[in-house]
Symmetry: C2
Subunit: 199 residues, 2 copies
């Protein structure tokens, strides 16, 4: 039925390229667009094009930055330049920033090593990371995820940096805040036990 | 951190107005937009504006239609004009169309009666429905949802149409295809039992 209304069919086609729009929600979003104020859609459309035009990757940390400005992370005077946190993606950088508990620099890998999918060190920003770490760097935090690929990537980087960085650390593993032991999986409980700390 | 990058902050603000973009997915979508081809985003932006410009509600059935063309549902020669299916929203019309099992006309109410939220018969398209149903109409299918408001709306319409339409029906209630009795709620099993049919 949709295919008989070309403007809707075209909108659906374009929206389908956007990830994480489940097919049920897709038509709700189309309905929202059609019912909402023309000015609002104009603003959304402009925001899309402006973001595309004005945003680029920082050539140092590989997070998104305004094209006309220097990177607010790398060139901030308030951040500790002796500590570097390595994350898989920009979204994970945001998660760490949201805690407000980290004031060092970042390095976004752009993914994880995955030989089966043809992703080797050259597909990621590992070379830039190695070039970037020098004697001024007191600590490198490897904040990759606890997936097989994430752990393998961390191990690869740790090996490459072992004589360059002062200290190489990873995130603490254990029971999430607010969870009860009873409902945790065996491996998490095991990690929490074996990596216990004195109080 | 986002607020220091105005083009991203603005895009996030505009995307937040769109319903059903969960906050986790929001940043993934921003990342998708920033990484994808400029031409693709241009096309998305154009599709949004074109849809907004070219689509309007059909004044008869209240489904979306191309502004430059007549309604593909109301003016189709292949559809049975003696049967009318009343649905709450356009998305539910699409669900029925997808089955391919209905070839009559539609009427989109634009919601359900909900006195607590100030939605009375005048806020919906009930008056147009009543005006529309005449002696040529052999059957009206009330396909509202089985919520208290949906059922009340169906009852209200059934009462208004009782001397106008040849036959007033509602959708069958029972066990969904592929489900097992064991996991069904009591009310559904009760409905399936009490509305059983001969085989």
């Amino acid at each position: 039925m949709i295919e008989k209304i070309p403007s809707i069919a075209n909108l659906v086609k374009e929206l389908q390229h956007v990830p994480y729009l489940a097919s049920k929600n897709l038509y709700r979003i189309v309905h929202y667009i059609l019912t909402s104020d023309e000015k609002k859609i104009q603003q959304l459309s402009t925001a899309l094009l402006e973001a595309k035009k004005n945003i680029e990757l920082c050539s140092l940390c590989f997070a998104w930055k305004e094209r006309s400005a220097s990177c607010t992370l790398c060139f901030s005077q308030e951040r500790d330049r002796t500590i570097l946190c390595v994350v898989e993606t920009w979204q994970e950088l945001l998660s760490i920033e949201k805690t407000g508990g980290y004031k060092g620099l970042y390095h976004v890998l752009g993914g994880v090593l995955c030989p089966l999918e043809g992703i080797g060190p050259n597909e990621l920003t590992i070379r830039s990371l190695i070039d970037r770490v020098d004697e001024t760097c007191g600590e490198v935090i490897l904040a990759t995820n606890q997936t097989p690929e994430g752990e393998a990537t961390a191990a690869y980087i740790a090996n490459k940096l072992k004589n360059k960085a002062g200290k190489i650390t990873c995130l603490a593993r254990g029971i999430p805040v607010g969870s009860s032991l009873e409902f945790m999986d065996r491996l998490t409980v095991y990690k929490a036990l074996s990596e216990r700390r004195s109080v």
